[in-house]
Point group: C2
Chain length 281, copies 2
């Protein structure tokens, strides 16, 4: 099942037999003081720069999140989305918890964007999914519901089924619902990563869905986080994640290596090309 | 299903819910000119040194292979095994293609060793498995047979079933047969790693077997081999490998990180301890 996204001038296909699509995560002020300050001052220059550098490093889609204290997202998110669309051609993943900001951003976003995110919570589905349906966008479903984040893979799959059922009722095609297994921190729960990996397998097997996930939550509070993140990302890709959301400057090579190993890069041509480009820099 | 190995003074348990057991691969002259020259001169000092350094880096079992041009394995392999057993306490994996050398080495090896390896080839099974049965050892089965290395995971599983059937006929307990999925080179066959990963899943699901594999074959001829090897190792562990054979100085941290992510290292205590020990060095 293929999800097709469109940017201003590029089309991106996400599917189980296609090379992984990297969604660049860096346009997000969480934990980034300088970016948060710029956004509060409505300065979009750093957003444009992050758009360019991430695409140069291999991002095929860009997540755009401007949520920070003191930011009016309804006003700023559409401007940030427009600034990214002005700067690069790739599809945009509109990332906000505010339905009004989502609506305003979708109105100015070119092509066919991705929406990050909906959950299986009743109120959230009713606020987000109609906007997704109306705009003809794709959406990321976080596998949680009104009782919170389920602790078992089977119950996370149930939350995914609930989101999928409501989405299809509203006319959103099945292939336009991508799922995120929700990766919690192994430092707080030793089974957190294992549950996420098993959830990824179920989402692929039972729903034939495309699956995203972030790799960095998993390692909070642990030493050598880059090692843990990279190993987790490799495991997640082997279990079926095909559009990871991560920092392209850190993880693009690992994702390209994973494509080689999963038989998605014949003769390793993309990988070899990237290694040569890196050596030439 | 647990495989139990014994060294001179340590017992090692291999099982699906236990931390991964690293089999150190470095006592092997293939591609190592200095070691090959020492072995040809019957000098076992480098073997003892490799035994110590690998155990210090986290190897729980040591592979011992002395196969090189000009080496009389029947004479040298027992001496090498004895030298390793003198130096360290861990179980030994006796690695040879020569049944006479295997017999001689098993006679001097302490505890309950592992034998590397048998295949599903009729002649090889009849030469190796009776020695394994008589000695009460465990054995690694390479999933190939008289027609060569099967190209599909399902036919590799058939080769494994054939080995298991003959082993149990000879009185070897099921749990003492560990399988190796055979990892070929992605540079020669784009599906090589994918077939190995799927074979690992089948060996775990269908036979409940413990599974070893090497990580370095996969990347021959490709750029940035350490990255490819590490990503492949992570994927293999996520698919069910639980006693990888590799170089502990390169891969011990990745294996410990994998244990954390697969829920086999509560609170990450072993991982955190290893990171601290590394920082203190």
């Amino acid at each position: 099942m293929e999800t097709i996204l469109q940017g201003k001038a590029t089309t991106v296909r996400i599917g189980p037999d296609l090379p992984a699509v990297l969604i660049g995560e860096r346009i997000n002020p969480t934990g980034k003081k300088t970016l948060a300050a710029a956004l509060t001052a409505c300065d979009l220059a750093p957003v444009k720069e992050l758009a360019q550098t991430q695409v140069a490093c291999g991002a095929a889609v860009l997540d755009v999140n401007v949520g920070a204290a003191g930011v009016d997202e309804v006003s700023l998110l559409p401007r940030a989305v427009a600034a990214v669309a002005e700067t690069v051609d790739v599809p945009i993943c509109v990332d906000t918890a505010d339905p009004a900001a989502l609506k305003a951003a979708l109105a100015v976003c070119p092509g066919k964007p991705l929406v990050n995110s909906v959950t299986g919570e009743r109120a959230r589905m009713e606020a987000v999914l109609p906007l997704v349906a109306e705009r003809g966008a794709a959406v990321i479903g976080l596998v949680m519901d009104d009782s919170g984040i389920p602790s078992t893979p089977a119950s996370r799959l149930e939350a995914a089924r609930r989101i999928l059922a409501r989405a299809t009722e509203l006319g959103i095609p099945r292939e336009d619902v991508i799922f995120d297994p929700l990766v919690l921190t192994v430092g707080a729960d030793a089974q957190a990563a294992r549950v996420a990996l098993e959830t990824i397998r179920l989402l692929r097997q039972e729903l034939d869905a495309n699956v995203t996930c972030g790799a960095s939550n998993v390692s909070f509070g642990m030493p050598d986080r880059p090692l843990l993140n990279q190993i987790f990302l490799a495991m997640a890709l082997a279990c079926g994640v095909n559009c990871p959301i991560s920092d392209p400057s850190h993880f693009c090579d690992a994702i390209l290596a994973s494509d080689v190993l999963l038989g998605k890069d014949d003769y390793g041509m993309r990988y070899i090309h990237a290694c040569r480009a890196r050596a030439a820099r």
